[in-house]
Amino acid sequence: MEHQSPDLDALLKKVLGPPPQPDFAAWREQNLDAVVELQQSQQQPRKTLVTRRRWLIKTASVAVGIGGVAVAVSLANYGGDRRAVAAVIETLKRAETIAWTTTFHHRVTSRDGKRRWIERESRESAYRWPGLYREVFRSASGEILQIRITDALRSKTTTLFPATKEAVVASTSSPHNPNGPFAWVPTAMVQHDLELVETVRTPRGEASLLRAAFYDRANQEEWSYDFLIAKDSKRLVEINLPGKDIYDPETDPDRDAAAEAAWSTLTSAGTLIHDIVFDAEFDASAFSLQSPAGYTVRSEAGPSNVQEEDVAEFLRVLAEINGQVFPDRVTPTAISSAQLRELELKADRSPAENRLLDIMARVKQGAGNRLPLAAFVQSATTPDTFRYIGKGVELGDASRLVCWYMLERTGRYRAIYGDLSIRDVASDDLPLPAKF
């Protein structure tokens, strides 16, 4: 018989005690690092954006009064951000093929660290739905160095070297999005506030420059995207990463500096994606993974040679360099190429720094020039199962998890602990739900 008396209910409440009282202010003080991470996402830039948009609208109103009709008309004819954004998204969804050119602007520092200049590198690219990419790499004089065809759905590539009539075929995880090169654009346009900066003249007519400015939490810096949208067709014609508020190739102080043969560091100044053409016409063979007749075909092993033990050793070294504590994060990268370059040039490296370079050299070729952790995650783990929570974990603490992942070949979760032991772990035992 059920003991459903009010007495039992009252007794239960008495036994279990009074309910907990949430004290967010106290929790916030104890967890400032988590709060700061949350806080630094987009609040500040958004305030700036609202202010600037209001300024633009005010200016337009005034401009009408004193004859600045062009400005007011351009804003009025624009028809608002939402319709243009919707049109851009629709075009991206429907495009069967897309062609574009990417120009990478690298900021290079001289060997003695005293001078800088900008080096540019262009790549012609094309996409055909579903998931096929074609990239053409040229020398400074315009000669084609290689053509790479990628099937991003099946993770296969064929790289052609016209000068030597060689073809390399590989099965490897692709850096390309199988949903298209600009699949990220709709999310970026919807996720961030867009500011109408100005109208610009392009070779193909007038375009509106929309800017999304935000705080990049992963890299802890202000960042922005500039989207140029043709006024007549409402199609995306150009993307600048970052926007010209951060890097403007036309006004950057290093733009005209002379290049030198010897250099010490190379960083990305900006990436310009331009001459975007939708539904461009291509011959079917342009995206074929079959090597052309007359080419010598070589097969390249796709998966990297990085093992779990290499990952553990890599994490050990990172912790040793970080004062015997695992680093706060390992994404987007545990150590940048600029930092690695600095280490290589450093005269008095610590034993841990030397071991880091040894690991890099040992795994580099098989890892396809990726860092050991990235190579392992991309080649050996099930996508989106890798999680890192090593922040604050001391090297040697066997009770603390540093990271976990699902091994693709076994379908089982594995975890690396603070003492660098590697063990099977049940998904229920992980501090975060595997998928929610």
Binding site: L8, L11, N31
Partner: protein, 179 residues
């Protein structure tokens, strides 16, 4: 009073609004403590676990694919954090459960001790429902949301828990009195 839904609060928090996360904290702290208390049997430890669970949630909130299920999500994180801590404590020190009566002290048990022991003997899923409702004061609907089950299922678990508690208490009283 903030009338926004959990989903709206989660989206605002993902955009960096700390106060929105604070509202989520206030709404669901009781859930997290109840679940941890049900698992660990120690209220102070349960509050520590709940606070740690919210720290994890704060860092990972952008990964929550279904914002409306924040309550269930924080419960899952709490459960797992509590399990990890329970394992660490077992390895380090054998800590007697608050719910473990022994033959020696059964005769000294008060009614409160009897109920506490009986609660400890409940299956975990019933025990969680008991803590969420009787300790944190959640309604049946809120308990259902936290556990990801229907309101009817909450009714069922609490009914079965009360029945089991009644039987346990009767059995223990019988043991004490020798009947």
């Amino acid at each position: 009073m903030d009338n926004r839904t959990d989903a709206e609060l989660v989206r605002a928090a993902v955009d960096g609004d700390v106060e929105s996360f604070g509202e989520l904290f206030r709404r669901h702290y009781g859930t997290a403590v109840a679940i941890a208390f049900a698992r660990l049997g120690d209220r102070h430890l349960a509050e520590d676990v709940a606070q740690e669970a919210f720290a994890i949630a704060c860092r990972e909130i952008s990964r929550l694919e279904k914002p409306a299920r924040f309550s269930e999500w924080i419960g899952t994180i709490t459960r797992r954090t509590a399990s990890q801590i329970a394992k660490r404590r077992k390895t380090a020190v054998e800590i007697p459960s608050d719910y473990a009566p022994t033959e020696d002290n059964a005769s000294l048990e008060t009614e409160i001790d009897l109920i506490r022991a009986a609660v400890g003997d409940l299956p975990e899923s019933w025990r969680e429902a008991v803590f969420l409702h009787y300790f944190s004061g959640l309604s049946y609907e809120a308990v259902a949301l936290s556990l990801g089950i229907t309101v009817q299922a909450v009714h069922g678990r609490l009914s079965r828990a009360r029945r089991a508690l009644g039987e346990q208490i009767s059995r223990r009283i019988g043991t004490q009195t020798g009947n």
